[in-house]
Assembly symmetry: C2
Homo-oligomer: 332 residues x 2
């Protein structure tokens, strides 16, 4: 592979906060390609397909930048492997989410294509998750396996919790923070803390990065939830209000529902139609709840940056700060 | 929990080869219950449900008996955790197999119940697999994580390979041993080898147990495949020939298909009806192919026992030998 060309390409396309670790990200990609290359052709194909799109590679970046911010050796082989493992755990969860979401969306009728998709998504996800732990198995720091497996557990628990809260606004009100922390913040936080551990950083630095990752994840997920209400479907790839249609009451809606003027009433278990979801989304914007949710996300992102204050200034720390301020202003 | 009562109960119900580790199996069960107890109620519920049935607990037994056969401390906490992790990996794979099998069986139409089942099966499996690696994360012997994650990878690859061989007898002829080794032998072999590693046994002993586990797994799976042809549906819980209906050509059928008198012809991709599957199963028995497959399984089981010759005689080694001879004569 011409890594030079890939490198140049990724540098030109990638957000600014990736620049300090651009070379390492190329090695992460190579590690992912190498470890997911299987003697079973279809396993390699699924892996290539789901990992080729690239995504923002936020989790590997968090590992690499955290190592750098703690003065560790960013291009050490075990750091690259850890960063690759983090991306595999994330991608495995996306594949399994597809099974769960497509199940709901298809309303009880599965096409042959959807079924073929389910089988490959389940097995593909298992393949990637197992490969992630294979990569982590080589690390001497056994506490990293506990951190990452606990994050994987939290992600699954959060999906289960979402399932049991479906179409129940009261449950969502009680569990919203629990759900978004498990869904998104747990893995981001584990990535950052692992980076600190790999750098043999102080307990203070480990805690700082854990807190940074946790706040970053919360701010990221609130923004995701907000984009479902205010985003441009052409950019987000989702219809406005699709979370509501899928039985999810997220922060902007929860805030709006406390307004005296809130004109909707939800019966537990009753599904919300796409038309009603659009009306609710419109109200959420007009009553200022969307703006309020945005301010909460910004405040949490600021808190993420403040967590880093105990670390020495460096291009890596600055990149982490830039990442935190970027996630709340993104449009998709 | 009254472990004494549970112990007495499990001793009276369990096969003879479990007796040397009966007390440890109770602790394995307690570890499984404790680690799968989640703050998310539904996660605990699924885990309890799928793990309560009990099963034969062959994989934990393999870990415990291998440790004992190598002179290790069978009741050490880390041995118990490793044995629990092995059962969790196995159970996670069963949950995900349900998603794949039910998809095929329902022929393109999912009931609401089946969809709910899919979601819970996928997430429940992920939960158990992640908890397994959490348990393994505490072990000092990092090579065990590689062994177990490689086994998990092989199990997934084997399922993917099965999917791509569906209804293609030529592919099954080429890949049969690859499939059954990945599906069943890889985890059993990893359990035995891990037991040897946990006991700090010699390389020879590690290899002996790895080979034992591999042969045991192959003999076990061939017997499973045979029971699909000759088993009593009331005991196996499956219709005769259900593997054929699901597009799987297993050893007894592959042997029968080489007989000059074999009267069936399979077009690649063509599904086999339950009626045709029963006719094929009848022929497989009548032409002696079922008997031949049974003899192959018995020979491999003997080979498993011979692998243990380098180990000193002990009740643990004897139990492993008994297990190998038992798996090929079981009726379900």
């Amino acid at each position: 592979m011409n890594t030079g060309a890939l490198n140049a390409k990724s540098k030109s396309h990638c957000p600014k906060w990736t620049l300090p670790v651009a070379n390492e990200l190329v090695r992460v990609q190579e590690t992912i390609e190498s470890v997911t290359n299987s003697s079973v052709e279809i396993a390699t194909q699924i892996s290539s397909y789901v990992l080729a799109a690239g995504g923002k590679r936020i989790r590997p970046c968090l590992v690499l930048l955290s190592v750098g911010a703690c003065g560790g050796e960013v291009n050490a082989e075990r750091v690259i492997r850890m960063a690759a493992a983090a991306e595999l755990i994330h991608t495995a969860s996306l594949l399994h989410d597809d099974v769960i979401d497509s199940a709901g969306a298809r309303r009880g009728v599965c096409t042959a294509n959807a079924l073929w998709g389910n089988t490959l998504s389940v097995l593909g996800g298992d393949f990637l998750l197992s490969k992630a732990f294979y990569l982590l198995g080589d690390l001497v720091e056994s506490e990293i396996i506990s951190l990452l497996s606990n994050a994987a557990v939290a992600m699954t628990e959060s999906e289960l919790l979402q399932t049991s809260c479906e179409n129940n606004i009261d449950s969502w009100r009680s569990e919203y923070w629990h759900i978004i922390r498990g869904k998104t913040a747990s893995l981001m936080s584990a990535c950052c803390e692992s980076g600190a551990i790999l750098s043999q950083a102080s307990k203070d630095a480990q805690l700082a990065l854990r807190n940074y990752g946790d706040s970053l994840g919360l701010a990221f997920q609130i923004t995701d939830d907000l984009l479902d209400i205010i985003g441009n479907p052409a950019q987000t790839g989702k219809q406005v209000g699709s979370d509501l249609v899928n039985g999810k009451f997220t922060l902007p809606v929860l805030i709006a529902s406390t307004r005296d003027s809130f004109p909707f009433c939800f019966l537990t278990g009753e599904k919300i139609s796409p038309e009603l979801a659009q009306q609710i989304a419109k109200f959420v914007v007009e009553c200022g709840a969307a703006e309020e949710a945005k301010r909460i996300a910004e405040k949490i992102a600021q808190h993420a940056c403040q967590s880093l204050a105990v670390l020495e200034d460096s291009t890596y720390r600055q990149a982490l700060e830039l990442l935190a301020t970027s996630v709340v202003v993104r449009e998709f």
